[in-house]
């Protein structure tokens, strides 16, 4: 049989008949070709290689391309299937291969689904209409003569730059021989240092050595006072795009410069956000924090800003703040992978430093009680700010709890291993080591932020606004005055609250309860009008009662909390659970339903309702 006869070429004889047939054909035509050496440009590719197995095993991209070329040319015959196979294999090895480039006809309506096509057409139509409108508006605007004055003058000096094919030096000497008459306006550009250098013979402009060192001066602000709103918008967008492009090319400094330009024309949320990210990449934590705060002022639930702020906190060591931010994000988007990852990292860090404090827990409690007693007597104390951001006192003031206050802890320091013996608080204090300037600017923003968020129902919001509200109250004393009498209490109370939180997390509910009670007392004593904080404290204490099994007190506290801030989720939820445990199902049902009305996504409520 002819097959057997010819298949002695290749060692693989176990193939499908189809393959054998193809090979046979290839081999046969190979025979034919060998007899015509003139047209055989495929000298380097023997015909046996035009074969499935060979192609599959071949790893040499160039060789494969050669094979493909031969196959496509049809010299050895037309094997469409083999061609496709070869292409597929080549693509696996080198998707960017030039041989894989195909000329396609222009896409038309037929190549799209109906929806896509309609979308594209509608898009174009709306654009055309909008542009026509804006064009007519543009034409109607009067031409600003002032604008014309702002343009720099005509480039001075009619200088000839002789074009030599090669020589640089020749041209250099040419130009230096002539002292061309200069325009008066050149005096504006007169650079004394440069002239001195020139006089001293320091010619730094060797043409071959014009190396672009570092970043040339990009002006950080653009004077857009004479432009219309439309033009401002366009220009700001363009600068932002430039910033984005620089960012993508990893030129973060440049990106920041362009974003700053964009913001100087028209402040926008996205420009701030982007600049924050660029600063993060440059590790300018304070600048990044500032930008995140700006965004959150404009848009308090902006997820990107929250995430970025969490990152900054993380790097600055404010793990508590970071985790709060992340929890906010996760509330809205429970599946956010980055948030989840970051949160788990932070939790781990938090739990690392907790055990250290656990052991000292009891001792310090006693200490603190004493100190607190002291403090109540002389309410001068500045105190341990929570997470640094909120301290109303300058670092110098953190005088104290009887501990020698050292320099504010370095930022971004892992904190928990702080040297202060008051390590219980050190955890939070350490993160406070921010510069004054930063804090002062933060405060005003923080106050704004809190006033906006004061009314949210979410407890996290409450918690944070609570603490900020505390500093909001204390913000009144912005001066670095050690003797300020009334400012100390809110931070002091928030510290109590945080201690309570910590204890609660550790499962020491009784102690936590105590803390909360103290805090509540403190509030009522000082007469500070801060319903959110009080509400939170009550709510937290209610949680403690619930855990202890004291449902009655829990219900009481929840009710009080709800009096202060109706429709807050956590107290409602806790009260519902308390009622349930007391078997007063009707009331429990009512409360759960209320919770669901407020926030339909609370799973626990759903379950319990059923």
């Amino acid at each position: 049989m002819a097959q057997i006869h010819l298949s002695t070429d290749s060692p693989n004889t176990q193939q499908s008949p189809h393959r054998a047939l193809v090979k046979q054909r290839a081999a046969m035509s190979g025979d034919a070709v060998f007899s015509l050496p003139a047209t055989d440009f495929s000298t380097k590719v023997p015909v046996e290689h035009l074969d499935y197995d060979f192609i599959e095993k071949c790893k040499d991209v160039k060789y494969l391309e050669k094979i493909l070329r031969i196959l496509r040319s049809g010299e050895e015959g037309i094997y469409p299937h083999l061609i496709k196979f070869c292409e597929g294999h080549l693509e696996k090895l080198n998707p960017k291969s030039r041989a894989l480039r195909k000329e396609t006809p222009v896409a038309t309506e037929a190549s799209f689904s109906k929806d896509e096509w309609n979308q594209i057409m509608d898009d174009l139509r709306t654009w055309a209409e909008e542009t026509k409108k804006s064009e007519t508006l543009l034409k109607q605007e009067p031409v600003f003569d002032l604008l014309i004055e702002k343009i720099p003058p005509v480039r001075s000096s009619n200088s000839f730059v002789p074009l030599n094919e090669k020589s640089f030096p020749k041209q250099r000497t040419n130009s230096s021989k002539h002292v061309l008459p200069r325009d008066y306006q050149e005096w504006d550009k007169f650079d004394v240092k440069e002239e001195c250098n020139k006089v001293d013979g320091v010619l730094k402009n060797d043409p071959p050595a014009i190396i672009n060192t570092g970043h040339p001066n990009i002006k950080r602000a653009v004077d857009a006072s004479l432009l219309s709103q439309q033009e401002k918008f366009l220009l700001a967008n363009r600068e932002k795009d430039k910033g984005n492009e620089a960012f993508r090319a990893n030129d973060y400094e440049e990106a920041v410069a362009y974003y700053s330009r964009s913001l100087s024309i028209l402040p926008t949320v996205s420009a701030y956000n982007n600049r924050a990210q660029a600063e993060i990449n440059l590790q300018h934590w304070h600048n990044a924090m500032r930008d995140c705060q700006q965004v959150l002022e404009l848009e308090s639930r902006n997820k990107k800003a929250l995430l970025r702020r969490a990152t900054v906190h993380n790097h600055m060591g404010n793990f508590q703040m970071a985790s709060e931010d992340l929890r906010m994000v996760l509330q809205e988007e429970p599946n956010n992978a980055t948030a989840i990852q970051l949160l788990s990292k932070i939790e781990r860090k938090l739990s690392d430093c907790l055990p250290k404090q656990q052991s000292k827990g009891k001792k310090i409690l006693i200490e603190e009680l004493e100190e607190q007693a002291e403090q109540r007597a002389c309410p001068v104390q500045p105190s341990q700010p929570v997470g640094g951001e909120e301290s109303s006192a300058a670092p110098a003031e953190r005088g104290d709890m009887g501990n020698a206050q050292k320099k504010p802890h370095s930022r971004g320091d892992g904190g928990p291993h702080s040297e202060s013996s008051n390590s219980h608080h050190g955890h939070w204090r350490g993160k406070g080591g921010a510069s004054d300037k930063y804090k002062v600017t933060e405060e005003s923003k923080v106050a704004n932020g809190s006033s906006k968020r004061g009314s949210t129902a979410s407890v996290q919001g409450d918690k944070r606004s609570g603490t900020k509200g505390a500093t909001g109250g204390g913000k009144a004393e912005e001066s670095v005055n050690l003797d300020a009498p009334c400012g100390a209490l809110p931070p002091h109370l928030s510290r109590l609250k945080n201690e309570g939180n910590l204890l609660f997390k550790n499962g020491q509910f009784a102690d936590a309860l105590e803390k909360y009670s103290q805090a509540i007392q403190g509030y009522t004593d000082s007469g500070i009008d801060s319903p959110e904080d009080l509400c939170i404290l009550y709510s937290n204490r209610a949680a403690c009662y619930l855990k202890d099994g004291n449902s009655q007190d829990c219900i009481q506290d929840c009710t009080r909390a709800l009096e202060l801030q109706p429709f807050s989720l956590k107290p409602l939820l806790r009260r519902a659970m308390a009622y349930e445990s007391l078997e007063r199902y009707k009331k429990a049902y009512v409360d759960y339903k209320t919770v669901l009305q407020i926030d339909i996504s609370v799973q626990a409520a759903h379950d319990s309702v059923n």
Partner: protein, 358 residues
């Protein structure tokens, strides 16, 4: 492997057949109109303005001029006035107000021979500083003009007397990131590319790419120079990374072969400086994306910084006609809208989709 549908698609939205040879076509900024420049068979120039309406290009105005017009730009026009600067076969530079195109706003005899290429900067909010126009001509000179100065160019780059003059085929502005810095890049028919710095009035860099340079363009005019693409005969184009200049080696570059014939034009997407389109002599368009390397500069053996070029990926290629596509212009207002005209006497409006994802 990306599925074919996630690649940008190039759609031919409108196709218009003209009765004259069209050399250049440009979008009018802030509008849905475009202008076509060319010459009638009887040897006179023509300017036509079309508007994109209801999926069609409708002729709004047609003006005839004594000399055929080769090229035009809106680059030096203010956003409100949008005057077009054109260069014609006789070496004249005119600036027209399209609302009243009978008399030019500015006119000068720029060159002794045909103005091959023109570019503008400083208008439309692109580039700080004075609006300027640069023209390159077959007489080998490259001149920079300011519309406020009559008759005389602001700068003139010409070969020293006695040297052979090579045709200048293309010019481009760049590095206009503040009001003093400007750079002009010129490409010649013998493969020379020269970069002039207008602030120092000196030649900053030159190189030769062995084949006549058909088109040069910077990726963005109004930033610190970043990338330059130069296309040439014989289907090759080069991308130079302009951030790091080595004293002897110049700028790092990569070159890519495509189109199998002359690459007539390269244009960067105004909304993304890393995407550009090249137009070829066989009537085809290739859409490319540049990717930066991990490190854009490194130290060479002498410890001097030398640049590192990245890589280009082909995103899409299509075949529009059999004749060369001589001009290409992206719309500055709508991402993906593109205008091209070719020697098959037709002008096409294209839509390129999915550029955000690319």
């Amino acid at each position: 492997m990306s599925s074919p549908l996630s690649k940008p698609q190039i759609i031919a939205h409108i196709q218009k057949s003209l009765n004259y040879t069209v050399f250049d076509s440009k979008w009018i900024p802030c509008s849905a109109k475009f202008v076509c420049l060319g010459n009638f068979a009887r040897g006179t120039g023509v300017i036509q303005i079309y508007e994109v309406q209801h999926g069609e290009a409708q002729l709004i105005k047609e003006v005839e001029k004594p000399k055929p017009i080769k090229c035009g730009t809106f680059g030096a026009a203010s956003l409100q006035q949008r005057h077009i600067a054109t260069g014609d076969f006789d070496g004249n530079l005119h600036i027209w107000n399209l609302e009243a195109p009978d008399v030019p706003v500015y006119t000068t005899k720029a060159h002794k021979e045909i103005v091959n290429s023109i570019d503008g900067v400083g208008g439309l909010g692109i580039g700080d500083g004075a609006p300027e126009i640069v023209t390159g001509s077959r007489d080998g000179t490259v001149k920079v003009w300011d519309p406020r100065q009559k008759d005389l160019p602001v700068a003139n780059m010409e070969p020293v007397g006695g040297e052979t003059r090579r045709d200048c085929w293309t010019v481009a502005f760049g590095h206009a990131f503040n009001d003093q810095d400007r750079c002009v890049c010129a490409g010649y028919d013998n493969g020379d590319i020269k970069l002039f710095d207008l602030r120092n009035m000196s030649l900053r860099w030159e190189t030769n790419i062995k084949n006549g340079v058909c088109c040069v363009e910077f990726d963005r005019k109004d930033i610190n120079i970043n990338k330059l693409v130069a296309t040439s005969l014989e289907g090759k184009f080069h991308v130079f990374d302009m951030r790091t200049q080595h004293p002897t080696k110049g700028f790092a570059s990569i070159s890519e072969k495509a189109h199998k014939s002359t690459i007539w034009q390269v244009r960067h997407l105004p909304q993304n400086r890393d995407i550009f389109m090249t137009a070829g002599g066989a009537g085809n368009l290739h859409l490319w994306k540049y990717e930066y390397p991990a490190q854009r500069s490194k130290k060479d053996s002498d410890g001097v910084d030398v640049g590192v070029a990245g890589s280009v990926n082909l995103l899409q290629n299509v075949n529009l006609s059999t004749q060369p596509i001589a001009s290409l212009d992206w719309s500055p207002d709508k991402q993906g809208l593109c205008l091209c005209s070719g020697f098959d006497q037709s002008v096409r409006v294209l839509i390129v989709t999915k550029l955000n994802v690319a």
